[in-house]
């Protein structure tokens, strides 16, 4: 006779057969296999079973569950037995997850980020700070919950075992990835941050300050990066407003000085407004001769000035207003860059992950913006440090800025000079056929823009009349471990494609499951993104509407990593080694793209293929694959899988060949792509050579590219910038020591100087 049982925590409690019957009934109901009477009969036999198996001692929980499984099967309730076993396995997994979660939190709490790889998974979060740790703890808890309760078992298994990687998994149930913020639409009529209403800005300084606020606000509604697709076009409006104000005031002042008059601003403003109405033009950086003449004539009439004197006043005013506007714009751009490198988001754990796109506005105001943002980037931060944010993206377009004689060609040249020093801007190429197909001159929203590390949104199967970059973004993305599929196929191409097809289907289903969660949210979950109409069509929603339809403007992206290792596993070499393998590489990626297009058409949703920006992922898959397969030469013998479709970083190849071989993959990866070229410092600082590489990317059909070169930092004094032989801040040479007193002196001048902790 069983009297008592032993619980998991070791406590001994009274045996209660009803509880066993209830558990059995739950399994029967879940499987529609048996009723309460059946459950009671099985429970009776469980007791007899236990008496036989645990003679003289109290059974523990595991023994009871074993007996339940045996007796369910003995009675022929096979479906119920299966449900019970599944339930039991899930509970076991949940208990293990709890233990793992506590261990993770323990590591976040107690281990220095410099020795904890886990805490450096995302380099933008400082895992050593209070808020950074809180974010990581929240993230760990959310991941454990999401895996246990939100994923289908097959998706959880694929994720856990490294067949796939679900990006931003901690935000699985919460929000979407990123958005291109149409800053002009947001500014017109003013907006609200959720902590107060802001009027429409009236000067370039306010335009720039509010642009940073907009990025910050939206960052708190999404887990990915924030981008402004029309930075030049938008800021140009602020420049025009600043110029107009300066024009009125400086013209009044010039007259006051010349004619020894008191306050003339109101009179002048009325006079110029009158001219504006007649000529149909406002004061701007480049006015028509008709406008200038009309102002001159009006001044002469109003103040009884000789025409020649009026002309001089106007000409001087124009020069001064231009100069003041240019200075204000420069300060505004500097302030913007400083803001984005110092302002906090997510409770101070991060600076907003921001991008700005520019280069194609050919108005004088737009050109002033582009020149000054480039100069601000060139100058760097307070002590000349290289700015980490925003990511600058220069949009290259023939007829606009690509060739000598194009209106913005000089700005393109300037961008090359700046990028050669500061690593930004990156370049997006509007002439690549897959970008050009959307381009409509005079409609900047049709110019491809990039956000975060590479995300691109253009095509729109859901609403083909809205194939634009503005107000859209990625909803979520999941990446496939391609090399593992190849390794599991043992060099058999046919098997590989079958596995790839199955994996694509699994990922698409998982993305759709995640979409279901996202689709059921409401405006009030995203007070800025949706509440302020930042996302396309969100301004048409009511509080009751869910987000399903408007979210369909976004993309569901399937990513991949390690094409090079995949090809090596299948064909013995990667795509940098032979044209034959390059062809095979394009077939694989083309196959994935076809799948995305097919699902897009079938569901009228935007599935797209992503060349995954593997930061945390670069090591995750390969660590698991090394355990499974060992270190296989050219495949699993390094600490990372090669980024997306890149030629391996360690492979010697010319810049030209690398670009030529990677370019066709840009056309296939419509969710985003990037190619890099590594130049040594001297070549990079040779602007001609730098520009030649950018031109090569353009001509080969690359969509998005950048050039890597060394930008140095002295860890002793914290100086960041270009360092020749001698550090410009502390004056030491590489490897030299300097007195502690000197460090202390420098720290007084540079309070942000890091305390040097030693070499890792």
């Amino acid at each position: 006779m069983i009297q008592s049982i032993i619980k998991r925590d070791g406590r001994v409690v009274l045996y209660d057969q009803n509880k066993i019957a209830a558990a059995i009934l739950r399994a029967m109901e879940a499987a529609s296999d048996g009723n309460a009477a059946d459950a009671a009969r099985v429970a009776n036999d469980v007791q007899r079973d236990l008496e036989k198996h645990s003679v003289g001692s109290a059974p523990d929980i595991e023994a009871i569950q074993d007996a339940v499984e045996r007796q369910l099967m003995n009675h022929g309730f096979n479906a119920a037995a299966k449900a019970y076993i599944l339930y039991r396995a899930n509970r076991t997994r949940a208990r293990e997850a709890n233990t793992a979660l506590m261990k993770t939190i323990d590591e976040i709490t107690n281990i220095d980020a410099r020795v904890s790889d886990m805490k450096r998974d995302n380099a933008n979060i400082d895992g050593n700070t209070a808020m950074g740790s809180m974010l990581q703890i929240g993230s760990a808890g959310a991941k454990a919950y999401n895996e246990m309760y939100l994923l289908r078992p097959e998706h959880a298994k694929a994720y856990r075992e490294g067949d796939i990687h679900i990006h931003d998994f901690d935000f699985y149930s919460l929000t979407t990835t990123c958005c291109q913020i149409d800053i002009l639409k947001l500014f017109h009529g003013g907006f609200s941050t959720g902590h107060g209403h802001i009027r429409e800005p009236q000067s370039i300084q306010s335009y720039a300050a509010l642009a940073a606020i907009a990025i910050q606000s939206n960052q708190n509604d999404q887990h990915g990066g924030q981008s402004i697709p029309n930075f030049d076009y938008a800021m140009a409006e602020g420049v025009a407003k600043t110029y107009r104000k300066a024009y009125y005031r400086l013209l009044a002042e010039a007259l006051e000085d010349r004619l020894d008059l008191e306050e003339q601003t109101a009179t002048i403003k009325a006079l110029v407004k009158d001219v504006e109405a007649k000529v149909g033009e406002q004061p701007r950086l480049e006015n028509s001769p008709a406008f200038d003449e009309a102002v001159i004539y009006a001044l002469t009439k109003r103040y009884d000035l000789p025409l020649g004197d009026s002309a001089k006043v106007v000409s001087r005013t124009k020069k001064r207003a231009w100069k003041k506007t240019d200075r204000d714009t420069h300060q505004a751009m500097e302030g913007f860059v400083h803001n984005l490198n110092t302002m906090h988001s997510r409770a101070g754990a991060q600076t907003p992950f921001s991008s700005i796109n520019y280069g194609t506005d050919t108005t004088p105001e737009g050109q002033m913006v582009i020149r000054n943002i480039l100069l601000a980037l060139d100058a760097g931060l307070g002590h000349g440090e290289t700015c980490i944010f925003p990511i600058h993206i220069f949009k290259v377009k023939e007829g606009v800025n690509y060739n000598e004689g194009d209106p913005n060609y000089e700005l393109f040249r300037l961008s090359c000079k700046v990028s050669a020093k500061r690593l930004f801007p990156n370049y997006t190429f509007l002439d690549a056929p897959f970008n050009l197909q959307y381009y409509v001159p005079g409609r900047p929203e049709t110019e491809v823009a990039t956000m975060g590390c590479r995300t691109r949104v253009m095509g729109n199967v859901y609403d083909p009349t809205r194939e634009i970059a503005y107000s859209r973004g990625n909803l979520s993305f999941t990446s496939i471990n391609l090399p593992r599929l190849a390794l599991e196929s043992n060099g058999d191409e046919k098997v590989f494609y079958e596995k790839l097809q199955a994996m694509l289907e699994l990922v698409a289903q998982q993305l759709l499951d995640r979409f279901e969660i996202q689709a059921n949210k409401h405006i009030y979950n995203y007070p800025f993104l949706m509440g302020q109409g930042v996302w396309l069509d969100s301004d048409k929603l009511t509080l009751q509407d869910d987000l399903r339809e408007v979210l369909k403007h976004g993309t569901l992206s399937i990513g991949f990593i390690g094409l090079a290792e995949t090809l090596t596993a299948l064909y013995g070499q990667h795509h940098g080694e032979s044209e034959e393998t390059q062809k095979k590489g394009l077939e694989i990626i083309g196959f994935m793209r076809d799948y995305c297009d097919k699902r897009s058409q079938e569901l009228k949703m935007n599935f797209s293929l992503l060349a995954t920006p593997a930061e945390g992922l670069s090591g995750r898959f390969i660590r698991m694959d090394q355990k499974r397969y060992g270190k296989i030469r050219g495949i699993t013998d390094r600490e990372y899988y090669t980024n997306s479709f890149h030629i391996p970083v360690w492979y010697h190849i010319s810049a030209y060949d690398k670009i030529r071989l990677e370019a066709p993959y840009h056309a296939l990866c419509n969710a985003g792509h990037i190619s890099y070229v590594e130049l040594d410092g001297d070549t990079a600082r040779n602007v001609e050579a730098f520009e030649a590489v950018v031109r090569c990317m353009h001509d080969c059909g690359v969509g998005y590219g950048s050039i890597n070169h060394p930008v140095d930092r002295d860890p002793i004094c914290g100086y960041v910038g270009i360092i020749g032989d001698v550090c410009p801040r502390c004056g030491r040479r590489e490897g030299e020591e300097i007195p502690q007193e000197r460090i202390d002196e420098l720290r007084k001048m540079y309070p942000e100087m890091p305390a040097f902790q030693g070499i890792e």
Partner: protein, 53 residues
Amino acid sequence: MTAKSNNEKMGQGVGFERIRRITGYLVGTMDKWNDAKRAEERDRVKHGLTKNA
């Protein structure tokens, strides 16, 4: 390599670091990079500008 040779001086044997693009974006100094990305960065080779470099 020693960071501090004694209490009065710092920096002996310490080289200059480089800011590198981690993957499309920058994150500042490489002390925040995860181990795999550090290894990848170490392995990167320069690309020459001639066609058969």
